[in-house]
Point group: C2
Chain length 277, copies 2
Amino acid sequence: MNKKQLVEQIIKKKSFLCVGLDTDIEKIPSHLLTYEDPIFEFNKQIIDATSPFCIAYKPNIAFYESLGIQGWMSLKKTIEYIPKNCFTIADAKRGDIGNTSKYYAKTFFEWLSFDAITLSPYMGEDSISPYLNWKGKWSIVLALTSNAGAMDFQFIMDENQKPLYQRVIEKTQQWGTEENLMFVIGATRSEEIAEARKRAKNHFFLIPGYGAQGGSLQDVCSYALNEEVGILVNSSRGIIYASSQKDFALRAGEEAQKIQKEMEQILFDKGFVNHLF
Amino acid sequence: MNKKQLVEQIIKKKSFLCVGLDTDIEKIPSHLLTYEDPIFEFNKQIIDATSPFCIAYKPNIAFYESLGIQGWMSLKKTIEYIPKNCFTIADAKRGDIGNTSKYYAKTFFEWLSFDAITLSPYMGEDSISPYLNWKGKWSIVLALTSNAGAMDFQFIMDENQKPLYQRVIEKTQQWGTEENLMFVIGATRSEEIAEARKRAKNHFFLIPGYGAQGGSLQDVCSYALNEEVGILVNSSRGIIYASSQKDFALRAGEEAQKIQKEMEQILFDKGFVNHLF
């Protein structure tokens, strides 16, 4: 899915919601454990319930990988089940030398057919560029994350008082374009979102940390929106674990719809859509 | 395997060689493709031929992951085949929030029973600490890598003219000990190896970039050895692809032995062992 198609989906669905599929075998409703593939069954029902309200899905690869062969099979079935008009992100946070990166890219872009993958920038250009060479695919580079540990290195100031995460945003742009490169910008620090947007005016931001980790949607949007919307706001646990009972999918759908409604109002207020549903 | 046992193996085998299993289906000898599991067959023969001369194996996870389910099965068989007196490293370079890290740790420490995993520090403490809680297991944190892209961020100077990789070494030590934390320090820049050693006197270093990427063994050792040897020097392609013919395992064994002999001489010269084989 290219940038134009992504923006079209956002306008059409009046939503920039990404649902994080952090599907944990220990947290899914117990009645699903009798299914042959409980992880896939959970995802399938979550996708059915939420896909009218979101434009992207982001499976967190760790959760699938930790289940071994079975986990990878559940992941493959999930990615094949996601409707084709949804953008798909492998939250894998890979980052290795060039020769190795090619193989990770093959895994997520070819075998699993994801649209995008999250990447860690620590190893520099040859750990990012190989992914950028895959036509029609996206790299989403960690700049400012929403976890507590973000403070440890991402805010180290260089000689010119510029924090590392801003150096990452500036440097990485030299390797990709607005058509194949996005940034992870956590929702937890509004001023920093504004700083990030100044440095990457036209790139999409994937914004985690909304909800469970704090950061209001209005706040995030006032700093992060650009002329083409330019953001995907992720929510994982708040949606998929809205209920641990048999009504989990219904409740997930309701939570997703609630967020979509809020997004719709923001898109209307900012003039991106000219009527509410 | 704890630090004491690792040092004992080094002294016993007179070697601190780690063999990187970057096993590439497109590079292994073509006669192996008739086997049911060519990747495992290749690794098995490489392990048989090299295990007298090395003390560690480091499968590069990307190569296995890119083959899907079959690749993970080959990896599992490989890790089970490696002799128990060898240290095993999952070269996975993971790094994610705390909740997610636990699942990656489960994958590599429990399902696959690796002794150690390589980790990227970009996301800070909660992306490293969960791995350090696994008893008897090791985290190997990227500090200074041996690829060209290392120059992009790892050498960014802070306000006190200290490069990022040194900040990573200093900060990360607050979270772990010499018994559960090692650092990746590339072989390509001798002065930097010395700087790293000043800042982590007793931690083991995993040193890639010897051979193919440059850096002589004598040079590396003169800067990196500590009182307990304290280094694992990795070679991947130089050993496993020494020949692309039917003699690949024999030639891999010869290459490993050549390096082991050089290591033995260094260990003798430095007084770690008191006789040559």
